[in-house]
């Protein structure tokens, strides 16, 4: 089992700085021991932490800027437009220009607003999203921190964004924003539960909450081993990052951006940033937990595998976002409680039984072999098909035509003369 800091970037920086810390740096840093004496270990710790934070923030900001550009270009392709193409090669600097423009805009605070809450909300929105990236392994040995409770950390931290949304909604003293905030709370609360349970399947098979360990366990990617878990998690990730068809909180066509209504300038920019960063975070988590993370085939470096897979997930999310309409709030809640919750419990049950069957009593720390995973996958796919079919049967609304036939609508009497052919109704169903 990896220790708290084993081989992370944090540990490497720390060990290069500190002189003699055999407890934490068993084999020293890359450049041998550092220069700081042992009693200044706290300084090394602090410096390492700052460097890591700096790296995370900037890497993430950079990737968000690239992502927004890619998002807009792909969006334009979907709509048969050309998209941003003026500023820089292929319009790549458009986002930079947008960011600069956003910073220089006037910052308006509504007169009725609760200023403190109104101002804190954007910050609280951004922070949890960024914290997620601290525990994600981007490649073999390329991670900031490998927490032994990594997945728990992610679930705990991301649920903090509910608070930010409610604060933004309440702080702007705007009725539309309040609606949006209430919707958002209901949505995020509902989807936390199936999301957390669907991850437990992966955790059981890997035998650990650590993301590094989960990646190591995926001799067969968990998307194959537990398709049900992946499906539920992907849907929940879409909901958590406020994507269509679950964007009932922003709901441009109803609430006109909802809780973002009264934000302007960089405060709006931070929400915008958080939204896109949340998309990246969701894709990163899906990649790590279900798509075997950085694992791939030689000679392509593991980092490329990770970002390639992440890009594929992001593209899938974009595709859904660009083309699908939104669900109604009650339908969104119904899907979470009536559909996803049951599906994820079924997944937990079938995976749990198989983990119990295949578990090796003598070596409790061992990972499952590829063969065992393939058997699990076979069983889980059968469960997947059957349960999806069953849930579809249960949840499907009454067919339109049947409902029509039960209560035929009386035609309004029109014309006494004989009329030519009238096209039959309901032929489209």
């Amino acid at each position: 089992m990896p220790t708290f800091l084993d081989n992370s970037w944090f540990r490497n920086i720390y060990c290069n700085l500190v002189e003699n810390d055999s407890a934490r740096c068993a084999s020293g840093g890359w450049f041998g021991d550092g220069i700081l004496p042992n009693n200044l270990a706290w300084l090394a710790y602090t410096v390492a932490a700052f460097v890591i934070c700096f790296a995370i923030l900037n890497a993430l900001l950079g990737s968000v800027i690239v992502y927004i550009w890619a998002w807009r270009r792909v969006f334009a392709r979907f709509q048969r437009r050309s998209g941003p193409n003026r500023w820089g090669p292929f319009g790549m600097l458009t986002t930079v220009a947008d960011a600069i423009k956003t910073m220089f805009k006037e910052d308006v605070v509504p007169a009725e607003a609760d200023r403190l809450i109104f101002n804190i909300a954007p910050v609280l929105m951004v922070v949890p999203v960024f914290m997620v990236f601290a525990v994600i392994p981007f490649g073999a040995g390329t991670f900031f921190v490998d927490l032994n409770v990594g997945i728990l950390f992610i679930i705990a931290v991301t649920s903090g964004s509910v608070l930010a949304v409610v604060m933004a909604a309440y702080g702007s003293a705007n009725r539309v924003a309040i609606f949006s905030g209430m919707r958002s709370v209901a949505l995020l609360m509902s989807y936390e539960i199936p999301m957390a349970i669907s991850v437990i399947g992966a955790v059981m098979v890997a035998g650990s909450l650590s993301l590094g360990r989960i990646v190591e366990a995926q001799d067969v990617p968990f998307i194959i081993v537990m398709p049900l878990g992946f499906l539920v998690f992907a849907i929940c990730a879409l909901a958590e990052s406020n994507q269509t068809p679950f964007d009932i909180a922003e709901a441009e066509s109803e609430l006109g951006s909802g809780y973002l209504n009264d934000y302007s300038s960089m405060k709006f920019g931070m929400f915008y940033l958080a939204e896109f960063a949340a998309g990246i975070a969701a894709a990163a988590i899906i990649t790590t937990v279900f798509l075997s993370g950085w694992r791939g085939w030689w000679p392509i470096p593991s980092q490329f595998w990770f970002f390639g897979k992440m890009g594929a997930v992001l593209f899938g999310m974009m595709w859904i976002r660009f083309t699908w309409p939104r669900l109604r709030p009650d339908q969104v809640m119904g899907l979470a409680w009536k559909g996803l919750f049951e599906l994820t419990l079924i997944n937990l049950l079938s995976t749990g039984i198989m983990v119990a069957v295949f578990a090796d009593e003598e070596a409790p720390g061992d990972l499952f072999s590829a063969n065992e995973l393939w058997i699990m996958a076979a069983v889980n796919w059968v469960v997947f098909v059957v349960s999806i079919w069953a849930i579809g049967k249960v949840l499907a609304p009454k067919p339109y035509r049947a409902a029509m036939l039960e209560a035929p609508v009386q035609l309004y009497p029109v014309g006494v003369d004989e009329m030519p052919a009238v096209k039959a109704a309901g032929a489209a169903d």
Partner: protein, 368 residues
């Protein structure tokens, strides 16, 4: 313990992304449920009826363009028909066929916009709308070839149209007629195969046929309720009695039915245009006897036509002068809003703009 709740009222509009213009609704919610709706009009009122009293009969054509700016051709048609009835002008056949082609193309364009905006109102980020708009662009290009303008056409004149369509128009029209059925199929597939769209639109905002007739709702909305009332068929103006077309009816009278009817009507319009192309013959497009300054005799006339949104009627009163003494417009968009409250109350907030949009409202016509 019971929580004490109270209804909350919100103003939607006049500047709201989904109000299809500058419309304002004062909506009272109980949670997500709508309990009261009060529409407020007039943000686009330009006094077209008053302006018409100071312009000649031909100049008023340009005013009608600005009423329903998504369907200018049919507006022209309704007005021109009323003037012709008032002045007793017999139009030239080629002019009539041309304006029928124009009107049916306009109907396709208007229904495309309505269908595209349905999916937009449902929350899609504009991609389906763009596909609808792409087809509409082709129609606008055709209009540009016909009369040089894309949206505010002012193409029709008393007695026909003001200019014949050029040769390249017919080639472009042929090309378009070959393309459009596939695009309509695509649109229908998009509407009818997405589970989310079906779940969102079916059995929402149901109106009774009897109520709709009593409230003066006409057009696709009425036909979606199973009332077989189409003025092209019942009260054939122009040469609609010489072409064959069906009148698609749906019985559900909900949001889905309204859009289903619109898509089927696009198909019927394509049929009509095909027949018009076959029937049209060379000749003058407007009679030489009609002067540019039309002076109808004293009297009044009302002609209602089936415009894409419903019955569009022009009531003209003449005092024998060069300009109408009174010009009143029976605007289908305004009439179709009569039952707005009945439609919306009891539905969810998310369905509010979908139901509202399903009336295919155009604020230029509501406020005039």
């Amino acid at each position: 313990m019971t929580l004490q709740t109270e209804p909350i009222s919100i103003n939607f509009g006049p500047q709201h992304p989904s109000t299809h213009g500058v419309f304002r609704m004062r909506v009272t919610f109980d949670g997500e449920l709508i309990v009261d709706v009060e529409p407020v009009f007039g943000y686009l009122h330009r006094g077209s009826e008053k302006l018409a009293e100071e312009r000649t009969y031909t100049q008023v054509v340009t005013l009608t363009d600005r009423m329903d700016y998504v369907a200018s051709m049919t507006n022209n048609q309704a007005y021109i028909l009323s003037v012709e009835k008032l002045a007793g002008i017999v139009p030239e056949p080629r002019g009539v066929w041309l304006r029928m082609i124009a009107a049916e193309l306009q109907r396709i364009a208007s229904h495309l916009v309505a269908t595209g905006f349905l999916i937009q109102d449902l929350g899609a980020l504009g991609t389906p709308l763009m596909y609808a708009m792409r087809e509409r662009e082709k129609i606008l290009d055709l209009f540009e070839m016909m009369c040089g303008a894309r949206i505010t056409n002012s193409y029709l004149r008393p007695g026909g149209v003001f200019a014949d369509a050029p040769d390249y128009f017919w080639q472009a029209l042929r090309q378009f007629m070959d393309d459009i059925p596939g695009q309509v199929d695509e649109m229908e597939e998009l509407l009818g195969s997405s589970e989310i769209i079906l779940q969102r639109t079916k059995s929402v905002a149901v109106l009774k046929p009897g109520d709709m007739v009593n409230a003066g709702i006409t057009g696709p909305m009425l036909r979606a309720g199973g009332v077989d009332w189409d003025l092209r068929h019942r009260n054939s103006y122009d040469y609609y009695d010489r072409v064959q077309f069906d009148r698609p009816l749906h019985h559900a009278s909900d949001n889905f039915a309204r859009y289903w009817v619109r898509i089927q009507e696009m198909r019927e319009s394509i049929k009509i245009v095909e027949q018009c192309i076959k029937a049209i013959e060379p000749g003058p497009v407007r009679p030489k006897s009609v002067p540019f300054l039309v002076r109808p005799p004293k009297g009044d006339s009302y002609v209602g036509i089936e415009c894409p949104k419903g019955e569009l009627g022009f009531y003209l009163v003449s005092d024998g002068g060069v300009s109408p003494y009174r010009c009143h417009v029976r605007a289908p968009s305004l009439m179709n809003l009569t039952l707005l409250k009945e439609m919306l109350v009891g539905t969810y907030m998310a369905d509010m703009f979908v139901s509202f949009g399903s009336t295919d409202i155009n604020m230029g016509e509501v406020d005039r």
